[in-house]
């Protein structure tokens, strides 16, 4: 939102899209005595909304997006085998990995049915809200 330019509705939509994928309820942008507050109402945090709105439908791949910051774990801390391997078919709602915040573990959930292409982030890396974590290909393509 460059100064002097009008804010486009499409930009607002983009911001609300980011908020929704990141699981954030509202955002305030302030400066020079003005505050703009965007609040998501009746939002569906996480779940299906964890599809990157930027994912290009033409390539028909889905990016799995971090809905929380955290350390990416591709295996459960008690186990040595990963949740999923590249090539594995997954169903919507399957746990693909974990985002660990101190001792808390939040699931990285498959937003749709698909086939695991690859992790986009190294296991053990610290990621922020909205980071693309994994690429899923449509089931019929493999």
């Amino acid at each position: 939102m460059t100064q002097g330019n009008e804010l486009q509705i499409s930009e607002l939509k983009q911001i609300t899209g980011w908020l929704e994928t990141a699981g954030i309820g509202f955002i305030e942008i302030g400066g020079k005595g003005t505050v703009v507050r965007l609040t998501l109402e009746g939002q569906t945090l996480g779940g299906k909304s964890a599809v990157n709105p930027q994912a290009a439908p033409s390539v028909q791949e889905t990016q799995v997006i971090a809905v929380s910051p955290g350390v990416l774990l591709t295996c459960h801390p008690m186990r040595s085998t990963p949740f999923v391997e590249p090539g594995a078919a997954v169903r919507q709602g399957d746990v693909l990995g974990l985002l660990r915040i101190a001792q808390l573990c939040l699931p990285v959930v498959a937003p749709c049915d698909g086939v695991v292409v690859k992790w986009l982030v190294e296991p053990g890396a610290t990621v922020g809200y909205g980071t693309a974590l994994m690429t899923l290909a449509p089931v019929r393509h493999l």
Partner: protein, 334 residues
């Protein structure tokens, strides 16, 4: 709320234990792995004194007769809710008619199944724990059986499950956070290491026996359960026969009967015994012992009173931090 579908041998309702009645001859009972039970209650936002189900034999299957949130902690049992895997140290929402299958553990020995609100059984002498010897407390004073229907206390659902929460959440296990303990000589990674205080009759043992006690690994024999673990290893010899009157004992005490093969008294132990005591596993490490499987090996590390108290403080800090983290997570999705 849940119906037991398997022959649930030895599964019992347990809470943090029945405190204050040892003097009357009533043992503490309570969860063998109190940390696992406590963490499960934290995950669900239950009161600290809520009771859960301790499961030592697998597979264990239940059907939910109502929608309810549950948590699984303790041993990693590759559990499934319907077809979907349930991670260890995890909480999830179950729907009416879902079947939860808790499989044979890949690691650990006891799994805890907790329900939102806690298992609703009467409080007897200040606790919901099953007192098997006295046949009171818990579910009709006995272990669970196929066909039993267990109710959870009703709670106002302040925490409405949203679609995004369908996959639940969890925590890292305490072994991950608190780590293993060092031994000399170095223990096999598969061994369970616990810290031990020398007890009243420690000095009565031959030097060779005392050295062996700290140096050797001790097999958890099949004669091991909630009452106590009978261990197999080198024979411990006292300098002269030790004869004692019965005296009070607590969970964790390591007795040496005339066979020279030690017994660790645990949650369902009688509150008194007459065997000499060579040591005591510290309270802060009893959860580690609870997850040692039959056939696995134990190692003892000598500690002192100050370190034993510090270890309890460390456990407290761990629980406080978890409570804070889980509270933030549950709170930010009201």
């Amino acid at each position: 709320m849940i119906e037991v579908l398997s022959n649930a041998a030895l599964a019992t309702i347990q809470d943090q234990g029945r405190q204050g009645y040892l003097r009357y001859g009533v043992g503490t009972s309570g969860a063998m792995d109190r940390v696992a039970l406590a963490v499960g209650n934290l995950l669900l936002g239950n009161p600290d004194d809520a009771a859960g189900i301790e499961i030592p034999l697998f597979p264990f299957r239940v059907r939910f007769t109502e929608d309810v949130a549950f948590a699984l902690t303790g041993a990693d049992c590759s559990a499934r809710l319907g077809e979907r895997p349930v991670l260890p140290w995890w909480t999830l929402q179950a729907k009416k008619d879902d079947v939860l299958t808790i499989g044979v553990p890949a690691s650990g020995a006891r799994c805890y199944l907790l329900l939102k609100g806690g298992v609703d059984v009467p409080i007897v002498l200040g606790s919901r724990s099953t007192q098997l010897r006295g046949e009171f407390g818990g579910f009709l004073g006995r272990q669970l059986q196929k066909g039993d229907v267990i109710q959870a206390a009703t709670v106002e659902s302040a925490y409405s499950e949203k679609e995004g929460d369908a996959a639940g959440f969890g925590v890292t296990p305490p072994s991950w956070t608190l780590g293993g303990l060092e031994t000399s000589p170095v223990a096999d990674p598969a061994d369970t290491v616990v810290r031990v205080l020398a007890a009243a009759e420690y000095e009565a043992y031959e030097q060779d026996s005392i050295e062996a006690f700290w140096r050797e690994s001790w097999k958890v024999t099949p004669q091991s359960d909630r009452y106590g673990y009978r261990l197999g290893g080198p024979v411990l010899n006292s300098k002269r026969p030790v004869e004692m009157r019965s005296h009070g004992i607590v969970p964790g005490v390591i007795q040496v009967p005339p066979s020279g093969q030690p017994i660790i008294q645990l949650r369902d132990a009688q509150p008194s015994g007459g065997y000499p005591k060579i040591g005591t596993v510290i309270e802060a490490d009893l959860w580690r012992l609870a997850q040692a499987r039959i056939g696995s090996k134990l190692r003892f590390v000598q500690t002192n009173y100050e370190e034993a108290v510090d270890a309890l403080d460390e456990l407290d800090r761990y629980m406080t931090k978890l409570r804070h983290l889980v509270g933030l997570h549950r709170g930010d999705r009201p």
